[in-house]
Symmetry: C2
Subunit: 395 residues, 2 copies
């Protein structure tokens, strides 16, 4: 359980599989985002139809509504959302620091204002861990302090230090929970991490590396995380939060040789096609992003020839599939002219059909990269892919 | 083609099948409404999964957006909306008279204001027939003048006379089109109906009976429609438009003995469960209504114990299916607590799951009635059904 097997490499890129309580996931893998316990506009059946292997849900949102106690009473998150494949829950750190409204950070945790009812709430590393334990996802994430992409070194250092301290507390609490103590047992936190048993079949905890765009901070943070414990996976957070793409790629390139090969690397919040390709080339294994569903709801579809907006009048009588190379229900069933009509007429089916296609697009993109890695030919494949994707005016 | 076979009766109720170009439909049947070429929130795959045999689309809406020319270029309405089973198009009469905005009726037709762009448009019996021919549904409806449920006898008489005159013109134009003349041929209308060939495999035209709640007008209108031609089906329009349920049932009861048994009877715009049962008992074969999808989007679900609103706080931790007796995806997959969460969190999946269930509910209701009719036991079945459906506070 929680094992990562690498089956092939191509440059820094790897393909392999992660074994989790609810199944094995082939990497590189894209995880659709089910923020509130549902991937917006899609059903679990849709997700299986497009080959989704693993889904992300948000601790922050589910804690506020309906509350983890409700989800526990309804059988846990898998059963609640009828998803029997692997699930990962974000810790809530990103949401607390990125959503609108009041927040106050102390070393203990974060006080913030709920976006649902405006009430003040507190999240600490221990609470975030307990909530995720109660939700029961295969992978829980440590509670982290995220800073904007342009944060200076002092701000990034402050957040990194806090995130590292919080990681110890998350790990301790997760260990206690794994060890069989109930939530009602003492929450007292001693210094250092207690001896922790091998993770059970229930859930593993992954640390999140912060440090902004400051490579030295990233490297230091990574060393300290790796010195803390032997993790089953590691996430790179705090990227794709406003910094340039060049800055993001630079951080990934600097980190890659220092990342331990035997554990999967998860780049949080990244999922535009060009970023997926660039990050896989730089050794990343897992991704999540709302881009395919959010863009789909806006009428933007990913295609091998770059993104297209289906609302465009040129599609009015276009009888071709959205993406002729795609095997999804949207592309094998409907003409572009019909999809355009659904958006013009503000019909719900349009939101669903473009979301479905975009998720399928990213899942196929990851599958194509796995195949290219197996052929030790990712660089050539990526060059071809980029030439076509970025060439304007094809569609 | 366009044949109706009755296989069993129980009182005034009948069960049988209608043969149409795109398939055979068992009656009594409920048709989900795909106003703009999509049954809101549902895909053709969903509709097949819940056993929908026939779908209605609206000529008025599709004429205004995207336009029947666009749909023709994309292969006709069936291909456009990816529905390969029977389709019926309403003529646009109901929409012209019921939607907001300017309208002006003359004996020639109706000038009205488009709800899409505010421009003045004209619909005549000939144009409504041509548009429907271009859309290519299995069943086209005659262009009618609908009056509100409370209309007095003079108003209802005026609309009935106009509808009858318009029916002649619709029939003539439909006959010309069926006979192979193109839309560019002369639109000149002579008195009386020309000799018309047997309907081809493409499309049949059904008349709409008006007359408000005035039984004598209804009876006269029916006689005059039946004297005009031998129709393959007949619709009762202008009910469920504001009159009392008692008035609607009275009209149906008065008409039933006078309706020719060998053609199917379609009660337009009716689809609340209690009305479906009452109308089948009074000899009706086909129904359409937005109630299951509109109510579903509002969070109201039909159940054997009456309607329930899933937003109700009592469902917060309710682990039971929405309707334990239902076999739809919603009821076999999700707990009420999850469905309530989807509505509380304003997630699109909730709209879809409740719409899906409600359509399945009406399709199962029609199937149960077919079975009861075959057992010559509809009255007893309906009594049991009503006792349970109207008894409050079970769920």
């Amino acid at each position: 359980m929680f094992e990562f097997q690498i089956s092939a490499t191509s440059g820094a890129a790897r393909t392999g599989s992660v074994s989790l309580p609810h199944g094995t996931v082939e990497t590189p893998v894209f995880m659709p985002v089910g923020t509130q316990g549902t991937v917006r506009a899609l059903s679990p059946g849709d997700l299986k139809a497009v080959g989704a292997g693993m889904v992300l849900a948000n601790t922050y949102h589910l804690h506020l509504r309906p509350g983890e106690d409700v989800i526990a009473q309804l059988g846990g998150l898998h059963r609640f959302m009828a998803w029997d494949r692997p699930l990962l829950t974000d810790s809530g750190g990103f949401q607390v620091f990125s959503l609108e409204g009041f927040r106050s950070v102390t070393d203990d945790g974060v006080e913030f204002q709920s976006h649902v009812d405006g009430r003040r709430r507190v999240l600490t590393p221990e609470r975030a861990t307990e909530i995720q334990w109660t939700l029961g996802a295969d992978v829980a994430m440590a509670f982290d302090h995220v800073v904007p992409g342009g944060a200076d070194a002092a701000t990034a250092r402050d957040a990194l230090e806090r995130t590292l301290k919080w990681l110890e507390r998350c790990a301790r609490r997760h260990c206690e929970l794994t060890d069989g103590r109930t939530l009602k047992d003492s929450l007292t936190v001693a210094a250092g991490r207690p001896d922790c048993p091998t993770p059970t079949d229930r859930q593993t905890l992954w640390p999140i590396l912060q440090g902004g765009t400051h490579v030295a901070l990233r490297e230091e943070g990574l060393s300290r995380i790796l010195a803390m414990d032997s993790w089953t996976g590691l996430a790179i957070g705090g990227l794709s939060v406003g910094e340039s793409k060049a800055a993001m790629y630079q951080v990934l390139e600097a980190l890659e040789p220092r990342l331990p090969a035997p554990i999967p690397r998860y780049l949080m919040g990244v999922g535009f096609p060009e970023d997926l390709v660039a990050a896989v080339e730089r050794g990343v294994d897992l991704f999540d992003c709302v881009a395919p569903t959010r863009n789909g709801r806006n009428g933007t579809a990913f295609t091998p020839d770059g993104p297209v907006n289906i609302r465009n009048a040129t599609f009015r009588t276009d009888g071709r599939p959205l993406d002729p190379s795609c095997d999804c229900e949207t592309c094998t069933t409907y003409a572009r002219g019909y999809l355009r009509h659904l958006f013009a007429a503000e019909e719900l089916l349009g939101l669903r059909l473009l979301s479905l296609h975009n998720v399928r697009y990213l899942i196929r993109l990851a599958a194509e990269m796995r195949e290219a890695i197996r052929r030790s030919a990712l660089a050539a494949w990526a060059g071809d892919w980029r030439r076509r994707y970025t060439q304007p005016g094809i569609t």
